[in-house]
Assembly symmetry: C2
Homo-oligomer: 389 residues x 2
């Protein structure tokens, strides 16, 4: 069997669970973290280095790749796996999220509810048929439909693909959220139909739970997914205005999630968020944060406030110890905070690379420790070790 | 013996030779190439990756490190080897070259004779005592003397260190060149005296041949070196206005170089330049070009015009083959020109990293093939393979 998801252990006091996700490019244990290789590249790390950091699975973004270098080119080059030299499991998203967020730096914030911004101006038109938007590269108009998204994702060739949806912002009212969700559900049906039309056993699809911050809408969307033929479920859309609300919104979905399917929580990557998500039945997570933070000098760190430290900080100038004494990553094994501080102050790109190694390794370490704790029923003490605030 | 240089083979038809250079951090075969890790970092590559690319030896620049993070900090952190995680042989220069070139983008060009620029304004004063210049970082005045350069290099702790010299520009007349060379010789004596004062067996010093484009001055400088106690010889200063003149200037030195000492040709890294240099008795070379070219999309390539191709070129957009079919580097083994073209067009830093891997590997491959050819007396056909123009 090319694809499978087996739940191997269920926690007694939460919805947390251990699972095994099988794809044609390998099998991964869940809970797990999916690293973002937006433009067919993990920023700053080679696939070999990703493996050295014990990475199991990555994703790429359909929105970026459809514009540059284009799905036809990637197909011609043998697909995304071969093109970018990653032979493990891979996911592509539908392009939806970026259509509604790119060209507007903080729409990701908006969807997460951190502010009330105007609608992204690069989106020209959203109709039942699909979404028209301007290319970030040359301004040309592009029309993306559910069918086109699936066709593009087929050409890219990732193992796990995702239906097209409209990413409902936070500031819209319930009526808009409900109408948008209904359309995303119809887009989901169309995505699935298009996938089935050409299904060759090499890809499976995730449907998306929309419904904003409204429990009844989230439930309705989950019920639609339950009756659909998606392989997996992705929890998306507005997850509220702050962390507590995010956990609450995810908890609206938990009891209604289609049974036996892997569940992905879209765009979330904080330590505490992951512990909370796991307890709410989430199996996989993704976020650009590990490598993005690294490029800005932030090292993820177990058990410190804000879950990270900035190596540019003057107090690290003469610190001969590593970022994290307890970390076995290639960065912590060989380099001092003093050296990292120097690299960032001197503008040396190696600093970004070394911190990327550390941050990716740390996320994988978190997921590994989390899986072990889940098996041993020690999730609570582990959460206390990782999250102090 | 911590340090040694043994010539193991001498070509019959040129001054080319094979040697073995021993340092406390390992032994390298010569001819060899020294990669520039200017600010205690090879731009874009970890030391592990440098080793994967079969690198034997690297250098760092005293000028940059004395300003940031400072020699005292590096000494406190256990020296440059430990600080930057490189456990192989290492060289530091004296700071002289950069004093006379930095803050003035093209003084390297000028020293190589490519134009007539004004004297670098960040140099405030050159006296018998030393050189005063402004920090590139904060504009503060710094006074560097031969003694200070050696003291800094001792704190940095590289295996091979270099005397302070004045880097004579190309456009000055013979009188200026002669006076400058005489001062550099006195600075060399002072550098050597300072080194001897604290010699602990962990470092050895190279003296520098100045003398511009004047055969009699080059000869005079070599004779001074012959009578000095330097471990090695570095050929520096103005090497003329074009490649042919550069080879000619080096040839003025060749017959007079101190016997039995390793000879380094400063700042030269083209394929053809290296073949010509080897034939003129040069044992090691250095240049920023392998990684700098990589950051601008240039891949070094055996047997093509200009010794390189630019992966951004439109003709590579759909090229499924690697940069060089004959190359065993991690880049050519896994990635197509099409992918590299995409990475550079998309502004992904991984492109710079992958080409840096290729370019470093290619330089090491060149040196390896060159050593084999030298042993087998097949240098001429090898040069034809590598250099078409």
């Amino acid at each position: 069997m090319s694809f499978a998801f087996d739940i191997t252990h269920q926690a007694s006091d939460s919805h947390a669970r251990l699972g095994v996700l099988t794809t044609p490019h390998g099998t991964i244990d869940t809970p797990n973290f999916i690293f973002c290789g937006t433009k067919a590249s993990i920023k700053g790390l080679t696939p070999t280095q990703m493996r050295d950091c014990q990475t199991d699975i990555i994703l790429s973004n359909t929105y970026h790749l459809m514009i540059q270098p284009g799905p036809d080119l990637i197909e011609k080059m043998g697909g995304l796996h071969k093109f970018m030299g990653w032979d493990g499991p891979m996911l592509t998203d539908s392009g939806g999220f970026q259509i509604f967020s790119l060209g507007h730096g903080s729409v990701a914030d908006e969807i997460k509810g951190r502010g009330l911004q105007k609608r992204n101006k690069s989106v020209l038109k959203i109709t039942e048929e699909g979404a028209e938007f301007r290319s970030y590269l040359d301004g040309r108009k592009i029309f993306l439909t559910p069918e086109k998204s699936i066709d593009i994702q087929r050409k890219l060739g990732a193992d796990l693909i995702v239906q097209l949806d409209e990413c409902t912002p936070f500031h819209v009212d319930k009526d808009y959220t409900a109408r948008s969700m209904a359309m995303s559900m119809r887009w989901g049906d169309r995505s699935l139909a298009e996938w089935k039309r050409k299904d060759d056993g090499k890809q499976v699809m995730y449907g998306i739970v929309q419904g904003g911050i409204y429990p009844d809408l989230r439930k309705e969307c989950c019920e639609w997914l339950q009756n659909s033929g998606f392989f997996g479920t992705a929890v998306g859309g507005s997850l509220g205005g702050h962390k507590e609300q995010m956990y609450e919104v995810v908890s609206y979905c938990t009891p209604h999630l289609p049974e036996g399917r892997p569940v992905h929580l879209l765009g979330i990557g904080g330590f505490r968020d992951i512990f909370e998500g796991v307890k709410l039945g989430m199996d996989t997570f993704d976020c650009v944060s590990p490598t993005r933070l690294a490029r800005h000098g932030w090292a993820l760190k177990k058990g410190v406030e804000k879950e990270r430290i900035n190596v540019r900080n003057a107090r690290f100038k003469e610190e001969s110890g590593p970022v994290d004494e307890s970390c076995a990553c290639p960065c912590c094994q060989s380099y001092s905070l003093s050296y990292l501080n120097h690299l960032f102050r001197a503008g040396e790109m190696l600093g970004m690379q070394l911190l990327s190694l550390h941050n990716v390794f740390t996320m994988n370490r978190l997921m590994r420790e989390l899986r072990t704790a889940l098996a041993n029923d020690t999730l609570k003490p582990l959460e206390k070790e990782w999250c102090v605030s």
